[in-house]
């Protein structure tokens, strides 16, 4: 064994260091952003004209009950002291109990988050599978009828209110045609039959060997996921189109054609290859947007996910739950950004 590291090994070490430094910067910025989030969320919670004590004791409570609960919740202490208690608890991972459920906030979030991930992941798969080819097709046929049609379809997906699309989808595909299940993750009579393993109802039902429940879950998932997927198809498609248009006007594309490569090879092996990195950011952003943007569709479809948890917490002023959910959503965005930064550096040597 040589004492001198081989050039190959040295190169690997360099790559690792590159990656570490690529990740290091974002990790620090994430830590700063995280602390910033804590401060903003805490003080927003206190500025909002919502009385958390009244939420617990109700409008009919008398002064004795009200004062006792306010004391128990620490609202009699000075604001700055409340803040340090909150930050201290949060740094230890303790966000308190949700008023909404009486459970620890984290256990609630673990309970509801898989439902949102299941919905958003199905939607992003639909969005990417449709959006990328449609975007490429529109770019390749720029100015032709197909381009115009696809642009209109994508524009509609981007501009139609998702809430309205959800209701219309329910009326047509559930109420009139009976093709899909109604609201909720599964039919009510199928609830609580499959043991919870992963929290993803489609996976859990297959693990339990309950194919009927699996198809029931799919029939409930397909409509909200398609509607969400449609809106992200629009976003992904429009971005793909504009990235491709950029590439197709480059000289290397003409050169490749002159070299005698087929149109398909030029589009997919050359032009498309060069937009992969940009597309990755678009997909990460779209996925992040789906994870936090399912609020309305979750309300329409009574989908028991993070979006609905967050909305209800906000409506009743359950600040413990709001704070934790905001942190989760903020962390998802920061995490996805970090991930796409790292992938950027792997896929595109110029950015190293």
């Amino acid at each position: 064994m040589s004492a001198i590291p081989s050039p190959h090994r040295d190169q690997r070490g360099q790559n690792f260091r590159d990656l570490a430094s690529a990740a290091g910067g974002p990790v620090i910025s994430i830590a700063v952003a995280f602390i910033g989030l804590l401060v903003i969320i805490f003080f927003m919670g206190r500025i909002l004209p919502i009385d958390p004590v009244l939420l617990i004791v109700g409008d009919q409570a008398d002064a004795s009950t009200y004062q006792q609960v306010a004391r128990e919740m620490g609202y009699d202490k000075p604001l700055i002291q409340q803040f340090f208690i909150y930050v201290g608890d949060a740094l230890q991972g303790d966000f308190g109990r949700a008023r909404l459920t009486g459970n620890l906030v984290w256990s609630d979030i673990l309970q509801v988050f898989p439902a949102t991930v299941e919905l958003a992941t199905t939607a992003i798969v639909i969005g990417a599978l449709l959006g990328i080819p449609l975007g490429v097709a529109a770019a390749v046929n720029r100015g032709k009828a197909l381009d115009h049609i696809l642009r209109i379809v994508m524009l509609m997906g981007h501009s139609a209110p998702i809430f309205w699309l959800g209701l219309m989808g329910l009326i047509v595909f559930y109420a009139a045609l009976h093709w899909v299940g109604g609201s909720g993750q599964i039919s009510l009579y199928n609830m609580d039959i499959v043991p919870r393993v992963t929290g993803f109802i489609t996976v859990d039902s297959l693990l339990a060997g309950e194919t009927e429940i699996f198809w029931d879950a799919i029939s409930h998932l397909i409509l909200p996921a398609s509607i969400l997927g449609y809106s992200s198809t629009a976003f992904i498609g429009r971005m793909t189109r504009s990235f491709m248009l950029d590439q197709l006007t480059q000289e290397y594309v003409t050169a490749a054609r002159v070299k005698g490569l087929s149109r398909r090879q030029v589009i997919w092996n050359h032009a498309f290859r060069n937009i992969r990195v940009q597309l990755l950011t678009v997909l990460a952003l779209a996925y992040g947007g789906l994870l936090e943007g399912t609020v309305l569709i979750e309300s329409v479809f009574a989908w028991p996910g993070l979006g609905q948890y967050f909305t209800n917490a906000l409506l009743i002023g359950d600040m413990n739950a709001v704070m934790a959910a905001t942190l989760v959503i903020g962390s998802i965005f920061l995490g996805l950004n970090l991930m796409s930064d790292i992938l950027y550096k792997i896929l595109d040597p110029r950015t190293r």
Binding site: A61, Y66, L100, D108, L130, P133, V140, L167, H178, V180
Partner: protein
Amino acid sequence: MRRYILSSLVAATMLATTPFPTWAETPKDQLVIGLSMTNLLTLDPAEAIGDESFDVLNNLYDRLVEMDAKTPSKIVPGLAETWSAASDGTLTFTLRSDAKFQSGNPVTAADVVWSLKRVMKLNRGPASFMRELGYSAETLETTLSAPDEKTVVLKQATKINPEIVLYTLARAVGNIIDSKTVIEHQEGDDLGRAWLTNNSAGSGAFTLRRWSANDAVILDRNDAYWRGQPNMRRVVIRHMPESQSQRLQIENGDIDVARSLSSADLKAMATNKEINIQKVGSGGFYYLAVSTADENFAKPEVRAILPYLIDYDGIGTAVIGDYGVKRQVPVPADYPGAIADPGYKLDVAKAKDMLTKAGYPNGFSTEMLVLSDSPYVDIATAIQGSLAQAGITVKIVQGNGTQVYGKMRDRKFSMIIGRSGGQMPNVLGAIQAYTSNFDNSPTSSQTASLAWRTSWDIPELTKLTSEARIEGDETKRTALYKQIQEKFLSSTPPLFAIAAATQPSAVRANVEALTDQQSRSPQWYLVSKSQK
């Protein structure tokens, strides 16, 4: 290329249109209910305050005495087979011998004493109802006892008509808990609060299988229920915040009962033969309240104008719909002892004239707080319109319950559209929040009183209300009820009843023994489904 595009479009269309198995019609032995669960925050009887919680608790637990499902003003036996009131108002309850908790433990007098004391020790929302009867954690130590396993004795803390005590015990605050089971799950000195939030320990017709907030509550039948086995094997309640989603599901037969529908959706289903609309009187009222601490509304002459600027007919028919019944006295018209409406009508000319005489020829500007829900906002908008005709400019400020009622409790408001909750199905239960204010100072403990919140100092009305609470003789009490209502109307109150609030539900026609129930919380053990 075109080939690829075409094939992907075809695949996408097929994916979107593949018919997946769907099943309409709920199973015959399951009752499936859709409602907005936003206010369902706990299932601990000593802490729950919302109607949604009460619905569930009513079926998980039993009380010593209960309100009859069809005639709620009638007190019927629950866990107490019999009871008697002594001349000093002391109530003695004899428990039935066959009642068992879902754990198998027998229901004993010790459980009753423990449950009621627990309410006062925890001192959450429901404790206020017991405190209104004069009880506290301390006084219960000497007034509540269990001389033997099946006897419970409750002495009075302050002189009060025993009927009021019975009505209070028949509410959720009087739910009897299996003390042995809960003590096993106690954490520190929380008296089982953390555990009972998500679990049940009652003797009711159903047991709690699962509650996940904003998703579903699932109840399983209690096969050993002392009133007999319920017809429904399961009751499934799903969170459906959207009225239109609820409507689609009930029309499709995927749910049996829809509990939080908008007026428009209820109206749209009125002619559907497969669906019945059930309306349950709550004893509560939609009201307009003005603060007498406000410089304009401090003047009785200004308050006297307001009944002529409320379009009772228009609001009753077009705005409130199935959510209420037009009424100008804060007592439901069908309660024994309720007086007739004074017959106010929208009369802008008269109001303008009165306003000029009150010293406001050019009107004035003010602010109205309102809950951002239907029908509150619609009522506020209607009143804003008619007040504008007389020259009173109103700015509407919307908020959620804690925001609006929070300001009302701080007595920092000018006008509010709100809703009172009837505490008992009788005149007193409906009106006492409007007519009782013992201490008009900011430090009063009677913060639930609407009269206190509007800073309305009314020693005479308060005295009359207190007399009615004590009066045991029915004829004398009815005379007092009449006097209170008349005195209230003639005192230029800052509180204006607009409509008696009702809770409408849509129920599938094959669901039996539910639509005829009139108590605020349904009893699901009575429900069955016909084989249509």
